[in-house]
């Protein structure tokens, strides 16, 4: 289908984008890469009065290592982040996860912040942000930028803590911690399809931080001490997610995947090698 009619605005500065957003409020939608939003517009599931295209706002196109975190600007594409040379050292979970987002043709345009703003419960980037305990930075016309943690930002299916007058200007991923290991794995019908279950884990010295995507209405993160019975903990987690049957998988299968993939991801070295073959390195 074709989108309903809208005004199109392409500012070149963050200030212009925010001013227009404040003026138009809920009549406006921000478009960056458009790899989720354009499909929504084409199907007329959303019919904004004005589309504010921030892809030409050069001041929002950056990847910066700062004190303890990696900041990614709102115009930065997933492909640009994947090509950032130090990514595997600085945020290894992101480096592992990026090849699983859609396809390279959509990563070429899709942005990191856009995926987080869209908040699909099975999307990889929200899961990564929540698992690592990252932050979303929101700006409006007045006052200081507001920082919201991943846990608080995702509020349900395609629903976030962003207010209508706020622009997501950046997301912040904490840098990898010494002695920690990071792993990602997902099951989908086909590579690049939406995840039936996606898991991300930060393995620390005393605890696991396990994130689950694709099951609940948002990414769910649990801390599991390393000295508890892992099978018990995973079973409790699997049942706590409110898994539903749908055309892709049954609730039973989703719980099975959480338990089985969780145990492998958290305990076996072999997982990385098994997936190395299907994970595109470039």
């Amino acid at each position: 289908m074709k989108p309903a009619a809208f005004d199109y605005y392409r500012p070149t500065t963050r200030r212009e984008a925010i001013e227009q957003l404040v003026e138009r409020g809920e009549d406006a939608r921000i478009i960056a890469g458009g790899q989720s939003l354009m499909a929504v517009l084409n199907m007329r599931l959303s019919q904004p009065r004005v589309l504010i295209d921030i892809s030409a706002v050069e001041e929002l196109r950056y990847i910066e290592r700062r004190d303890g975190y990696l900041a990614v600007g709102a115009a930065t594409t997933q492909a640009e982040l994947a090509e950032y040379a130090a990514l595997a050292d600085e945020v290894p979970l992101l480096a592992q996860m990026l090849p699983w987002i859609g396809h390279f043709q959509t990563r070429n345009r899709g942005t990191v912040c856009g995926s987080i703003a869209h908040a699909d419960p099975s999307a990889e980037l929200p899961l990564c942000l929540a698992t690592l305990g990252g932050e979303v930075v929101l700006e409006t016309k007045r006052g200081k930028p507001r920082r919201v943690t991943g846990d608080d930002f995702f509020q349900g299916i395609l629903t976030t803590a962003r207010r209508p007058y706020e622009l997501i200007t950046e997301v912040r991923f904490p840098l990898s911690k010494a002695g920690h290991r990071y792993r990602f794995q997902e099951v989908a019908m086909r590579h690049g399809d939406f995840a039936i279950v996606a898991l991300a884990v930060d393995i620390g010295e005393t605890e696991y931080r396990l994130g689950v995507g694709g099951v609940a209405d948002r990414p769910v993160v649990r801390r599991i001490p390393r000295d508890v019975d892992l099978d018990d903990a995973l079973n409790t987690l699997a049942w706590s997610l409110g898994a539903q049957d749908d055309i892709h998988a049954s609730a039973t299968y989703r719980r099975h995947l959480v338990r089985e993939m969780g145990r492998r991801l958290m305990t076996e070295e072999i997982v990385q090698e098994e997936t190395a073959d299907v994970r595109p390195a470039r």
Binding site: K2, D7, Q35, M38, A79, F104, Q105, R109, P280
Partner: protein, 168 residues
């Protein structure tokens, strides 16, 4: 740049190396603009929501779904479509390999697949079969089962490598 919903904006871009321009409404998708306004009908329109890959073109050198872009977004940019692969009426090496390896039957998906392969082989000169299949996961082909496509891409990669080695 601000274009009202009932206005038409004159979009100027470089299409396959030539400067072109035509009018588009804000909501016009790039794929429709290429076909209807610029006459570049080699690009096919399939699902219109970014799943099938039939409409893939290159924008500033990167393979992109043209149904997930607006015509107004390519203002000032460089777009390449399937029409750019044949030089002076002669098919390019990728296109010839597709024919030799039976990498198409009905051909509806082929223009998009070729544009993805074109970017991919420019970046990855010695791909593995797994990498080729991963690259193709962004495309739906209902005729071939993909095997012929994979063989064609691998054959082109090998041939280009041999050519490079032979060159002084």
């Amino acid at each position: 740049m601000y274009v009202r919903l009932d206005e038409r904006y004159r979009v100027t871009l470089t299409l396959n190396g030539r400067e072109r321009s035509a009018y588009a409404e804000p909501r016009t998708q790039l794929c429709d603009f290429l076909r209807h306004s610029l006459g570049a009908t080699g690009t096919h329109v399939g699902c219109e929501h970014g799943v099938c890959g039939a409409c893939t073109v290159m924008v500033d050198g990167r393979a992109t779904r043209s149904c997930l872009m607006l015509a107004v977004q390519v203002e000032g940019r460089r777009v390449e479509t399937i029409e750019s692969l044949a030089k002076e009426g002669e098919m390019g090496d990728l296109q010839r390999a597709f024919r030799e390896h039976h990498a198409l039957q009905c051909g509806f998906c082929t223009a998009g697949i070729l544009m993805s392969c074109h970017e991919f082989l420019g970046r990855v000169t010695d791909p593995s079969e797994a990498e080729v299949r991963d690259m193709l996961s962004g495309h739906l082909c209902r005729c071939t089962g993909y095997t012929g496509i994979v063989q064609a891409v691998l054959a082109v990669a090998r041939a280009r490598q041999n050519n490079r080695q032979e060159a002084p």
